[in-house]
């Protein structure tokens, strides 16, 4: 386990503000991060970690917002196989499934 990974686990274990955990649970082809990579997202944006930077991370952060509003945990399929002539950031070439869930449901206010 790398230091980054350990730091992320430590952050996840301690966090007190409501947060969503995003984990790459499977990946195929060329993706910037592999299965097991994690990111913690708060209401205001990324708290720690990364699931791939420009390559698809925005989609995950966007989807995480719904979980603060009470949506159930779900898997976001991030397709990074856009045609590279479009200058889209998603040209890494792979597809990844990112599971998003409330990291610390006990810290979410009632009724959310």
């Amino acid at each position: 386990m790398t230091l980054d990974e350990k730091e992320l686990l430590a952050c996840l274990a301690r966090i007190e503000e409501p947060a969503v955990l995003a984990t790459i649970v499977s990946a195929k082809g060329s993706t910037p991060r592999k299965t097991g990579a994690r990111m913690l997202i708060g209401r205001e944006g990324v708290i720690a970690g990364t699931v791939g930077g420009g390559c698809g991370e925005g989609e995950v952060i966007q989807a995480a917002q719904d979980l603060f509003e009470g949506a159930p945990p779900t898997t976001v399929r991030v397709d990074l196989t856009d045609d590279f002539t479009t200058w889209s950031p998603a040209v890494c070439g792979g597809i990844m499934n990112v599971f998003i869930e409330r990291a610390n449901p006990e810290c979410f206010a009632e009724g959310q």
């Binding site: 386990m1 790398t2 230091l3 990974e5 350990k6 686990l9 430590a10 996840l12 274990a13 301690r14 966090i15 955990l21 984990t23 649970v25 499977s26 592999k34 299965t35 097991g36 159930p72 945990p73 779900t74 898997t75 499934n97 599971f99 869930e101 409330r102 990291a103 610390n104 449901p105 006990e106």
Partner: protein, 308 residues
């Protein structure tokens, strides 16, 4: 109440601190949506939490260890599991992780190369131990990243350092007689460390091997030693040498080729034509008809050796 990701993270950190192996699981898809997000951990015989179905817990617990080789200390994957619910078989997708005690790097010889080597090994998440017979070198303040720094006697260098097959031992001692003492011990172990590296010039490595041969070690046994250790990067400074050693350790585990990616992928040559366009055209799907793919000029034949 089901376990949260935060609670499981705390338990994983605790297990790592104690040197225990722990499996964690979370349901990411299931016919019954109430199972999604349920999690569980298993460490030795202890287990806590649930995936929402006892039958599913049992299926995952039985299979989890088989997904990860015993030598690995980290793993992550998703699998579909069958479980019973109300007399029917159903399928759930489960994401599993393994966290084990970190890989260990034992550096023998606490000289100038050991310092960057210890730092870089720690950056890779390895547990660092440094051994030397000179107390002024085997000093903890020289190795802030090391878990332990020990003064040893080269007559029995690993006396207080029990080694196993998942360990990495790097010999960077000040003389080949010390390397030799270490190698004899290492190669006679019933389960030697998977990675044994020894630094040295060709001459020094050869001298050590000659001594091993005289002692009756076979060439098969000698081949277990990576000597000279490291990738051929051409670096000279202690830090550069340490990079070459840790690079080889990464290669050992990750199974790459060790060649520059630009040479492996050859994106320009494959997709944009080049003086080698004709040979590339034989590869399927390389699109050798790029804008510059013209007839190969005389220059092409002058440099055939650079391309495979």
């Amino acid at each position: 109440m089901s376990l949260s990701a935060a609670q499981v993270a705390a338990r994983v950190l605790e297990a790592l601190e104690k040197g225990e192996r722990i499996y964690t699981a979370v349901v990411t898809d299931a016919p019954d949506p109430s199972l999604i997000g349920r999690r569980w951990w298993l460490s030795g015989r202890r287990s806590r939490g649930t995936l929402g179905s006892r039958s599913l817990d049992e299926a995952v617990a039985a299979a989890a260890p088989s997904f990860f080789p015993p030598r690995e200390s980290r793993g992550a994957l998703s699998r579909d599991f069958e479980y019973r619910e109300g007399g029917r078989m159903r399928t759930a997708r489960v994401y599993l992780e393994l966290h084990g005690p970190p890989a260990r790097m034992v550096i023998v010889g606490a000289g100038h190369i050991a310092i960057p080597l210890a730092r870089m090994g720690a950056m890779l998440g390895m547990r660092i131990e440094v051994l030397d017979d000179r107390p002024e070198f085997a000093a903890p303040e020289r190795f802030p990243d090391a878990r332990s720094v020990r003064v040893i006697d080269f007559h029995d260098p690993f006396l207080d350092t029990p080694l196993g097959p998942s360990d990495h031992v790097i010999l960077v001692t000040r003389g080949h007689s010390f390397d030799y003492e270490c190698l004899v011990r290492l190669l006679r172990m019933s389960a030697p460390p998977a990675y044994i590296g020894m630094i040295g010039s060709r001459r020094r490595v050869r001298a050590t091997h000659e001594q091993l041969a005289r002692e009756g070690f076979t060439t098969e046994e000698m081949k277990q030693v990576r000597a000279p250790v490291g990738l051929d990067l051409g670096g000279q400074t202690p830090a550069e040498i340490a990079v070459s050693v840790v690079a080889e350790i990464i290669l050992f585990h990750a199974g790459g080729t060790g060649v520059p990616l630009v040479e492996k992928e050859r994106v320009v040559a494959r997709f944009f034509g080049s003086t080698n366009a004709r040979t590339d055209a034989a590869e399927p799907g390389t699109g050798a008809t790029g804008p510059e793919a013209g007839p190969a000029g005389p220059a092409a034949s002058a440099q055939p050796a650079t391309e495979k």
